[in-house]
């Protein structure tokens, strides 16, 4: 019984510190105001920030034409029915569920990351935690992606696993249209044609029904959320690569470049779908990273998810440039808010400083992507070539280890 009680005690302590103590401490030091002042640009976009959510709730209560609401109607109506003091706890519940599904998502045949390690990786990830504190919509998106991946991976063990997977990936897509590519990659999880059909039909019907309900609630969401996200109508500086181009571009060229950038974002969906057929989970992460690099409104919360997944789902021992990757990502994360502050608040810097840092940040992300792909290709090579001979496997692993710092 003793370990049972200590475990329970640990869990209570964990929940108390993460969801009660730290938020209260931050509130005590008035950190929320500071966060909104300095790191708002990293975590929030008009489509996921808590501030716009509150605006939307206000609009739905007092003036129900919803002319400029930047959040999805179902999401807004969920929070409109919860008292405002409890909003944070809604996010906290989703965060706990994310952690549970993340821990249950077991990949023992691929990498040997223990349960405890995974727990600490998720818990100590500051980006995920700050995203939770700032109550961004990405908390939800991340939850649905992880749930979808979990059910896709374990669809045989779970009753109705396929439907659950399809519905959660549809939810993720509903919250952020750019996740639609993941639905294709997740098709690889299922073996028989029947399962694939079930998955596809369920996904499409779930998504259409959600859009249908949303249309009944507030038909403006097509213009205000989906189209303005895809066509980059809300021009705010963010950590993506798009905004800088459109600040100076002539009107005539805009549509062309919006098409090209979106195309670039989606150009690798089918190649990744075909190439990594036997590793759909990792393929989904690779696609997610690629899209995060090139989508119009990325946030650092996505980087938090990518890093968590990268460390726990990929074989870290074969990945090169771990140090450079880490240093690049860390230093760019430190410098991004500084240059934003110099540009917007102090006025001594300018937008070029900030954009240069976003380029560095994307290079860091690209290195993470390369690491993912390398780890996967190496795994594939080992399974194809050295599967019958275990000794050879271990020696080649050692040889490669020499380079991988």
């Amino acid at each position: 019984m003793a370990p049972f009680y200590t475990n329970r005690l640990l869990i209570i302590a964990y929940i108390a510190t993460r969801y009660v103590l730290f938020p209260h401490l931050l509130k005590m030091f008035n950190a929320e105001q500071m966060m909104l002042q300095y790191i708002d640009v990293l975590f929030n976009t008009p489509f996921i920030s808590y501030k716009t959510l509150k605006e939307c709730i206000l609009f739905t209560q007092f003036k129900n034409n919803g002319s400029n609401l930047n959040q999805m109607p179902l999401y807004v109506s969920l929070f409109a029915n919860i008292p405002e003091q409890l909003h944070f706890y809604m996010f906290a519940i989703i965060d706990v569920l994310t952690l549970l599904y993340f821990l249950r998502l077991d990949l023992s045949h691929f990498v040997s990351t223990s349960l405890k390690t995974k727990f600490w990786i998720y818990t100590l990830n500051p980006l995920t935690f700050l995203g939770l504190i700032m109550q961004t919509q990405f908390v939800f998106t991340q939850f649905f992606i992880i749930v979808a991946l979990y059910y896709c991976l374990n669809y045989k063990a779970n009753k109705n696993g396929i439907y659950k997977a399809a519905i959660s990936i549809a939810m993720a897509t509903y919250l952020d249209i750019y996740n639609i590519g993941l639905s294709l990659v997740c098709l690889n999880f299922f073996i028989t044609l029947k399962q694939k059909k079930q998955y596809a039909i369920c996904f499409i019907s779930a998504l259409t029904s959600m859009y249908g309900v949303s249309y009944l609630i507030n038909p403006n969401f097509i213009d205000n959320v989906i189209l303005s996200s895809v066509l980059f109508k809300e021009q705010y500086p963010n950590i993506g690569l798009w905004w800088y181009f459109f600040t100076e571009m002539f009107q005539e060229y805009r549509n062309f470049f919006k098409f090209v950038f979106n195309g670039y974002c989606y150009i690798f969906v089918i190649p990744i779908f075909l190439r990594f057929k036997s590793y759909p989970l990792q393929a989904a992460m690779i696609l997610f990273t690629w899209i995060t690099m090139f989508k119009p409104y990325p946030t650092v919360g996505e980087l938090g998810f990518i890093l968590t997944a990268f460390v726990s789902w990929f074989d870290m021992n074969v990945i090169e440039n771990k140090l450079i990757m880490g240093l690049l990502v860390m230093h760019s994360l430190v410098l991004l808010p500084v240059f934003y502050h110099l540009w917007i608040t102090v006025g001594s810097g300018n937008s070029n400083f900030f954009y240069a840092m976003t380029l560095v940040y994307v290079i860091g992300l690209a290195l993470v992507l390369l690491g993912m792909i390398k780890s996967l290709l190496y795994k594939e090579y080992i399974t194809i070539n050295c599967d019958d001979d275990n000794n050879e496997d271990s020696t080649s692993g050692k040889k490669l280890n020499l380079v991988c710092v």
Binding site: S114, K116, T117, W120, I121, L124, N317, K322, L323, L327, M330, H331, V334, L335, V338, F339, H341, L342, T345, V346, G347, S348, G349, F353, N401, L402, V403, C404, V405
Partner: protein, 590 residues
């Protein structure tokens, strides 16, 4: 591309990476040396600096004839007589008399009451007189500011400054050329109350005149008709500098009027800029002022940093030189005329620069590599420490009890360092004199170095991890500061470096403790500050905290949340066990 690939393969095959990883501490030292050499050797060298120039064409300094001449002489003298006789009255009476004059000129005037309540300033009350002259051609969205404190930074009565400011305002009312409002501010001192006024101006002040483009603080604390030379001070709080165009305009105008100009109180006119030594001296003093901004007596322009206001202090130094008091008035006049021409806010020219003489400068691209190299030097030490743990090379489990221990120590240290302020406040409440407080804090640091190993001794893996975190924390802090406050970043990086020497492998205990002591933030800053001020400044720590409370100077929070954290962690890790298990891991790497 294939050439690059071959190169990389060659590097990998020859094991160069491992060789580099083994000599990381040496590389780190080398980077420090390069960084210091870059600032004090290469930047002042011929070829890396440029002559200053006016980048914004609209400024046109001295293109208009300055009118504040002999005709105004008697007016200035009249005001000066009145103002010097006001010296016996207290602030209240002085402000009311001057306010009557300003009302007569047609300014909108008001009095602003400042009121502080902080443990370090004990309810400082003061009153700021200000007035707005509405420009005839302006729409009220922009303003130029002239301020003259009653008492200057050396606490002497600023007779000349106030009388020139008042006379100038009277003179400005006669002219129909102003396309921006002109604001006259007369605070009691150029420090806290001026800052409070500026803060209130951007929040809830009764009379405002639009966004302030430029600010000039006039400091002429003499009764004499002539002064020797003009001193231009420009380095603001938190590394904020005014646009180089503004400084250039002031210097250009002053030289045009035949006044000898110096910057940062360095008597630059007597130091020819073609000598290497003089340029080096200017850089060193500039960096020191940037690092200690807010801790030295406030000149006035510091009050304006953080609101996109280009502020400088014009200070007349020395009795009875070649230039008379109206010449001193013509300088703000011409600068105001120049700024008046601007159609856009200051955006040309440079915001990040170091001046090597009044007419020479280096821009950010030439000196920022020094700060980057410093940051890399600490990152290298951090990587060195990570490699010692073997986390990157072996398949050991990353998360075990020792790494959690290291993480907990890091968090606790961070909390302790941030709460250090409360601790200093606690000492202050215990009826010690300022001198005793300063000494107490310093003795506490020594005490910590020599006794902390009795309390807690980390295991070898924890030790390396703590070290890695300490240096990475400091490296990140330096990266954060490098564009914000180069002087502070560079100073901290260099002064804290003995910390990296203390963690070397075969170092004697005594030497290690010595390195730790001289890299302690309080001790290092105290000695550096006392050295630059030429006296033992025991009140430094109180000053740091009170300047954070009252004028928002970042030095205390920055030092306590970066340097202090790293230092405490390094001290703890130096107490740790030696790595007995280090050798087998090395073998594994090979």
């Amino acid at each position: 591309m294939s050439l690059l690939l071959t190169l990389i393969n060659r590097v990998v095959e020859s094991g160069l990476i491992w060789k580099i990883l083994k000599i990381l501490p040496i590389i780190s030292k080398l980077l420090l040396v390069i960084s210091v050499a870059l600032i004090f050797g290469i930047v002042p060298m011929d070829g890396s600096f440029r002559n200053t120039y006016i980048s914004e064409n609209a400024l046109m300094p001295n293109q208009a004839y300055s009118q504040f001449r002999e005709t105004e002489w008697n007016i200035v003298r009249g005001f000066r007589n009145e103002i010097s006789s006001l010296n016996i009255w207290n602030l209240d009476v002085r402000n009311r008399i001057v306010r009557n004059w300003l009302d007569d000129f047609g300014l909108e005037t008001d009095l602003y009451q400042t009121d502080f309540d902080s443990p370090f300033s004990k309810g400082l009350k003061s009153e700021v007189l200000y007035g707005v002259l509405n420009g005839q051609r302006c729409d009220g969205t922009e303003a130029m500011l002239i301020a003259a404190p009653w008492y200057n930074s050396e606490n002497s009565y600023n007779v000349g400054g106030v009388s020139v400011a008042v006379a100038l305002t009277k003179f400005f009312t006669n002219w129909p050329v102003w396309s921006k409002n002109i604001i006259l501010v007369i605070p009691e001192t150029p420090g806290v109350d001026l800052r409070a006024w500026v803060e209130s101006y951007h929040k809830d002040l009764k009379i405002t005149g639009g966004s302030i483009e430029s600010a000039m603080i006039l400091d002429y604390a003499m009764d004499s008709d002539s002064f020797d030379h003009l001193d231009v001070e420009y380095i603001g709080l938190n590394g904020g500098l005014p646009n180089l165009d503004m400084v250039n305009t002031a210097i250009h105008v002053a030289e045009h009027e035949g006044v000898k100009v110096s910057i940062n109180g360095m008597h630059s006119f007597s130091k020819p800029s073609h000598e290497f030594k003089n340029r080096l001296e200017h850089i060193a003093v500039g960096l020191q002022k940037m690092a200690f901004a807010g801790l030295e007596p406030l000149k006035g322009h510091e009050a304006f940093s953080g609101w996109r206001i280009q502020a400088i202090t014009l200070k007349a130094v020395g009795h009875g030189g070649g230039s008379d008091i109206t010449t001193f008035g013509r300088i703000p006049e011409a600068v105001t005329r120049s700024v008046n021409n601007l159609l856009e806010k200051f955006h040309q020219s440079f915001f990040f620069y170091l001046l090597l003489s009044p007419k020479l400068f280096v821009s950010i691209a030439n000196y920022i590599p020094a700060a980057i190299l410093l940051s890399v030097a600490y990152a290298a030490m951090s990587i060195h420490a990570i490699l010692k743990t073997g986390l990157l090379t072996s398949n050991d489990k990353f998360i075990d009890i020792q790494s959690i221990e290291a993480f907990v120590i890091y968090v606790v240290t961070l909390a302790v360092s941030i709460l250090y302020r409360q601790f200093v406040a606690f000492i202050q409440n215990n009826h010690l004199s300022t001198q005793q407080q300063g000494k107490f804090i310093l003795i506490l640091q020594i005490f910590f170095v020599f006794t902390s190993y009795r309390v807690y001794v980390p295991k070898s893996k924890t030790k390396s991890l703590i070290q890695a975190m300490a240096f990475m924390h400091f490296s990140l802090a330096l990266t954060l500061l490098l564009a914000l406050n180069f002087g502070l970043c560079f100073g901290m990086g260099v002064l804290a470096y003995p910390m990296a020497l203390a963690v070397e492998k075969n170092i004697s205990k005594l030497k290690q403790r010595l390195f730790l002591l001289i890299s302690n933030p309080f001790i290092a800053i105290f000695f550096m500050y006392s050295f630059t001020q030429d006296k033992w400044s025991w009140n430094l720590f109180n000053l740091m905290i009170s300047s954070w409370d009252n004028i928002g100077c970042w030095t205390w929070p920055v030092v306590s949340s970066s340097w202090l954290v790293s230092w405490i962690l390094v001290v703890i890790s130096c107490n740790g066990e030696d790595e007995a298990a280090d050798e087998p891991k090395k073998a594994k790497q090979d």
